[in-house]
């Protein structure tokens, strides 16, 4: 969409930015030569969850915090319940722990599938510069055919059936509580979940095949991934189990440097020693960074404390995958991208996050199948434990699909929340996303190059790879505004911008 302003400059709007969760805004500044001088990604929202969690009974937080994000409510549900376990000092009975991980893995597959098919995938299936009217799930369905569409819909539908089996409600399930789960699993429910998990494995493998043929089978896309303006060598963060394999529900936080060497591995409750958040006056979203390295601004490299916490980062920190099919997919991924199938050398190509996401889908589905077949999963007693200790403080951490998610609560002796702190998935990636958008803008916008809708969509692709969720990221921030891209000349005049004049001319 291109118009001419009264001053004769060209104005292009891509407002709002689409196929992501929530809202944000980008300002691109061009210098006198028509090159990108600087680029700011701004997030303008506050909902104040930290503040209004205060005063609530802590056991209600697993029912309240999932409304930070209705796309990944299970991530908040689990992180919150884990923080509650610690607040009450409850050792989770084994079945309770397995049930939570099972529920979480099935959610993981479903959530990754949503991103792959509805949010990020259309750019590849339909093409980055295809007609925007069909560059969406419906276009994808039209292109891939009803049979494949049926598979995708079934994955989502069965995923939500699984959520409802555990948590009553398909969106915003309510079953994880301090000490475990609100109900045990019946044999009948287990059988159904077994069927669902089997299907998820099959579906995840199918998705990898589709990725191979649609994306890797297209030299243009391979070029875009490997040689396009989409690469940042940063630190990587993710949860790992005792054998340094990916785990989404539990484990220690491992951080590796841009060369793949371990910087630190710590239990989630120590997060304040390792991560801090910068505040900038021009955005409502904070910038987390690694304290051991320090904040050097929005730059990558070993000297900069910027890290990423994405599916790709989780593969980078993992020495191996915990399941066989995922391990094979992991090796193929690293072999292709670094030439080293061991995974010791990290991948930094932003668009390859899509691929890593599919590897994780397979892993989560296989893990779900293992858990659902554990004879203890239907134990009718060990699904919850009652608190016996006086509540005080707790940290709960899971890998949200969009990054390491930490809930930290302090309560009084009645379990009423006094303080809450949350570092959510997308926020971890805030600095990196800002850098990726700028890099794409700088790589794509040059003097004489037409700033087409397709070109601007390629800038959008830089953040879409992260599957960002600004519903989550802005849990603590005021109001909300859809993402705007604005291109400005060196003197500040707007060359291209969103239509919305959020300029303080508000009547509120």
């Amino acid at each position: 969409m291109s118009t001419t302003t009264s001053s004769g400059t060209r104005r292009i709007s891509i407002d709002p930015v689409t196929r992501l969760e929530g809202h944000g805004k980008i300002d691109i500044f061009l210098d006198a030569d028509g090159e990108v001088a600087d680029c700011f990604f701004q997030v303008p929202e506050l909902r104040g969850f930290e503040r209004f969690c205060e005063g609530r009974p802590v056991e209600e937080l697993p029912r309240i915090t999932p409304r930070i994000c209705g796309v990944c409510p299970e991530a908040h549900l689990m992180a919150s319940a884990k923080a509650c376990d610690e607040v009450y000092g409850i050792e989770l009975p084994p079945t309770a722990r397995m049930l939570r991980e099972l529920q979480y893995c099935l959610f993981y597959v479903t959530d990754h599938a949503t991103h792959f098919y509805a949010l990020g995938g259309p750019d590849f299936v339909m093409g980055p510069e295809s007609d925007p009217a069909t560059r969406n799930l419906i276009g994808v369905i039209g292109k891939v055919g009803l049979e494949i569409a049926g598979k995708v819909i079934r994955c989502r539908q069965w995923g939500h059936e699984a959520a409802a089996i555990f948590g009553g409600r398909p969106v915003n399930p309510v079953n994880a509580i301090p000490g475990g789960m609100s109900k045990p699993l019946s044999a009948e429910e287990r059988n159904r979940l077994d069927e669902i998990a089997c299907y998820m494995v099959e579906f995840a493998e199918f998705t990898l095949e589709l990725f191979r043929s649609v994306v890797l089978g297209n030299q243009q896309y391979v070029d875009l991934i490997l040689n396009g303006p989409y690469r940042h060598a940063t630190y990587s963060m993710g949860l790992v189990d005792a054998k340094n394999r990916s785990n989404y529900y539990d484990g220690e936080v491992r951080v590796v440097d841009p060369d793949g060497r371990e910087l630190v591995k710590y239990p989630p409750r120590d997060y304040l020693q390792h991560v801090a958040e910068r505040v900038e006056p021009w955005t409502y979203l904070k910038f987390p960074y690694l304290k051991a390295v320090g904040w050097k601004g929005l730059v990558d490299g070993k000297e900069s404390g910027v890290y990423r916490a994405t599916p790709q980062s989780r593969l980078n920190v993992a020495d191996a995958m915990s399941t066989p099919k995922a391990q094979a997919a992991y090796e193929q991924y690293f072999e292709t991208l670094t030439g080293d199938r061991s995974g010791k050398r990290p991948v930094h190509h932003t668009l390859a996050i899509h691929w890593a996401r599919v590897v994780e889908m397979i892993n989560a589905a296989e893990r779900a199948l293992e858990l659902v077949r554990d004879p203890e999963i239907t134990n009718q007693e060990k699904y919850r434990a009652l608190p016996t200790r006086t509540p005080s403080e707790g940290v709960g951490c899971v890998e949200a699909p969009r990054g390491t998610l930490t809930h930290h609560y302090i309560t009084d002796e009645n379990g009423i929340v006094r303080r809450a702190n949350l570092i959510v998935g997308t926020t971890n990636n805030h600095a990196a996303i800002s850098m990726s958008i700028k890099q794409a803008a700088q790589g794509l916008i040059h003097r004489g190059v037409e700033v087409s809708e397709g070109l601007l969509n390629k800038i959008e692709m830089a953040f879409r790879a992260y599957d960002p969720c600004y519903g989550c990221a802005t849990h603590s921030l005021p109001g909300q505004m859809p993402m705007t891209v604005r291109v400005r000349a060196a003197d500040g005049t707007v060359l291209a911008e969103g239509r919305r004049a959020a300029r303080g001319s508000d009547n509120g």
């Binding site: 689409t18 009974p57 799930l137 505040v279 021009w282 904070k286 060196a490 303080g504």
Partner: protein, 322 residues
């Protein structure tokens, strides 16, 4: 496809968690029927239509607009007004759009307190200079702006006229599909005044399968403190459950997994104030002798404001402190 005769549908999120958008996807296979019967002309979560498309549509171009999320800033207000203008039928979709929803719990605090918790008085923050986000910042290359905020979380109906309300957090997919079909089949008039859809005037208790033994409540417990006896009404067991004061439509989903209702479908019957309706319903569950102690008993309920008004803090007089 015959674009001329197809209905035009839009979905928009304002101050929302995205769960409402997901709930529309939850209609599953019906999604294919929906897109066969209607063209999606705006849905930021899922399709690349931009504001300039919406602005270019003639007034009333959109047949059915599902608006989810609350209104917390002028931008959301602008979108509410724009979509009202462009839509024949405007639906407040979900608890946030209808009555503020969970984010309206923020109405219990001031914006200054919300800011402090996020940017200065927060354990992970590294902000020695006490920097706070500003609506306008001068950078080396130019001025950067972010929007202003309203002191309160508002409902969609505080801004524009709303035709229908589809309650729930989020609304349940089967109900949503019923309402969509009613619209597409012409069974519902385009204009109405805040008419409820996708729910009934009964209460969650009427849909709940747990047995009422007509046992009087003798005290309250929190759900993590005790394991409920299966099959028995949670409220009678002393767990605060808002089912009696909540309109039905969800199918009593929470009680199916032993969890008490928190009232996401909003107040049942004629009630406007869900908390008052709950206290009223409680009366009949206390015997005469306990009734005299009702106040005492109710004092055992921790956090009544955050429990009784979990989803309705933006309603009427409940708009927190200003």
């Amino acid at each position: 496809m015959n674009a001329v005769s197809k209905a035009k549908v839009a979905m928009y999120w304002a101050g929302s968690c995205g769960g409402c958008d997901i709930s529309l996807l939850e209609i599953g296979p019906h999604l294919l029927e929906l897109v066969a019967a209607a063209d999606v002309v705006f849905w930021p979560c899922a399709a690349d239509f931009k504001y300039h498309h919406v602005a270019s549509y003639p007034d009333g171009y959109i047949d059915l607009c599902l608006f989810n999320g609350s209104v917390r800033n002028s931008e959301q207000e602008r979108m509410a007004r724009l979509l009202r203008q462009k839509s024949k039928t405007l639906v407040a979709y979900g608890a946030c759009a209808i009555s503020g929803g969970i984010p309206a719990l923020a109405n219990l605090a001031t914006p200054e307190e919300l800011f402090a918790r996020s940017y200065t008085d927060c354990p992970s923050v590294d902000n020695p200079g006490g920097v706070l986000p500003r609506t306008e910042t001068e950078s080396l290359v130019g001025e950067l702006e972010i929007p202003h905020f309203y002191p309160q979380v508002l409902r969609l109906s505080d801004i524009v006229e709303v035709d229908y309300l589809i309650p729930g957090c989020p609304p349940q997919a089967t109900r949503v599909w019923e309402v969509c079909q009613a619209f597409l089949g012409g069974a519902l008039p385009a204009r109405a005044h805040e008419q409820l859809a996708g729910c009934t005037d009964k209460s969650v208790c009427d849909e709940c399968t747990l047995e009422k033994r007509l046992v009087k409540i003798s005290g309250f417990r929190r759900h993590h403190e005790a394991i409920p006896e299966p099959g028995w009404c949670l409220l009678e067991q002393g767990f605060v459950c808002l089912g009696a004061a909540t309109r039905s439509g969800c199918g009593a989903l929470c009680t199916k997994v032993n969890m008490p209702c928190r009232g996401c479908y909003g107040p049942s019957g004629e009630a406007r104030d869900q908390g008052a309706a709950f206290i009223g319903a409680l009366g009949s569950l206390l015997n005469a002798e306990l009734e005299a102690r009702a106040g005492e008993l109710i004092d055992q309920i921790v956090d009544p404001a955050g429990t009784f008004y979990r989803f309705t803090m933006s309603d009427g007089d409940l708009k927190g402190h200003r």
